[in-house]
Symmetry: C2
Subunit: 206 residues, 2 copies
């Protein structure tokens, strides 16, 4: 028995989502049909999101369209956040993670990825041009750029790339990076040698 | 920073899907916004599915609406499939699994679940009334009912329930159940004692 076309189309779209495969797409499709309103609720949520959300033209965050049709996120619009500190992140999810803590009061720049030869991501695929333009034209000038990229090989390669860009476009700015060490709640015997080595090297006085 | 309302709504709907939680919902939402057409593709697939798909009024399978607005699945409409053999399954996903093999040429009945005290599923939540009506009114009469429910405690409880219903409503019908034993590709030393015991008890002559 061939599956109905409308079902095949839905399964194909669901299976393309990250973390879902053909089997879990089937499970999701059946769950949507199991409860009468769920299919419509999801459809409406997607439509609303498509109409109302865009990419912040300053930093790349996901944001609501403004009344004038432009799209600048609340963090870039805020007058209480420190405009002289810029935190460079890989994706919007990283902004969400940092905002959950609430410790950071500066602004962001979303690169849209990290350089990766394996995944075919080159520096041209990242928003480095926008970052350079932003650093050159910022008023007040940026005084610190925090590199908050992943502690992977690709993240570190990209950090070096961004660092040299910052030194060129905003020579006055301090460069910093997230501290490496033990995560909160970790136990020493489960830590890998790399993390343990860095935690030792950067040990702090009590 | 609070997330935009449209985004919160989308995340809530995505996180309700089986297999997705708050974190994976975020990942899915960002992936939908990362590629320009994906959000619309998914929305359209959902709309098409909602318009064109319903539950087969005979067996409970997921099927396209017919030209007359009714909804009977191709398996129930087919004249080449054996109408005297009925396979009772828990969900539509089980039909898909059995149809993938292509070994079964009879019809189905979807119960819509199994009795489970833990999950609050009572016999009234299953399509037992429809099954009884179907067995009493079937022309030609059903000659065999295959119980293809899970090999769990809940599945077996439900099998007993369905068996007594079949004996009452269609006393002429043979009752059978899926064979228990070694799955294809399994190695003996990884099998649990229960499966191994059943595989031994039901051993077959070469």
């Amino acid at each position: 028995m061939a599956q109905p076309l409308a079902l095949q189309g839905l399964l194909k779209q669901l299976a393309r989502l990250p973390g879902l495969g053909p089997r879990s797409a089937q499970r999701v499709a059946l769950a949507l049909f199991a409860a009468p309103t769920r299919l419509n609720d999801l459809t409406e949520a997607l439509q609303r999101a498509a109409q109302q959300l865009g990419t912040c033209t300053v930093c790349g965050n996901l944001a609501e369209f403004n009344a004038d049709g432009g799209c600048v996120c609340p963090i870039c619009l805020s007058t209480t956040r420190d405009a002289t500190t810029l935190c460079v992140v890989e994706s919007v999810a990283d902004i969400w993670a940092l905002e959950r803590g609430g410790d950071y009061r500066g602004r962001y720049h979303v690169l849209g990825g990290v350089v990766s030869a394996l995944q075919g991501v080159s520096p041209d695929d990242l928003s480095l041009g926008q970052l350079e333009h932003r650093l050159r034209t910022a008023i007040p000038a940026v005084q610190e750029v925090i590199l908050a990229l992943g502690a992977s090989l690709e993240g570190q390669t990209t950090s070096h790339l961004v660092a040299s860009l910052v030194q060129r476009a905003a020579p006055q700015a301090i460069l910093s990076t997230l501290a490496k060490g033990m995560p909160v709640g970790a136990s020493v015997d489960y830590l890998d040698e790399g993390t343990l080595g860095l935690a030792l090297a950067h040990r702090q006085r009590l």
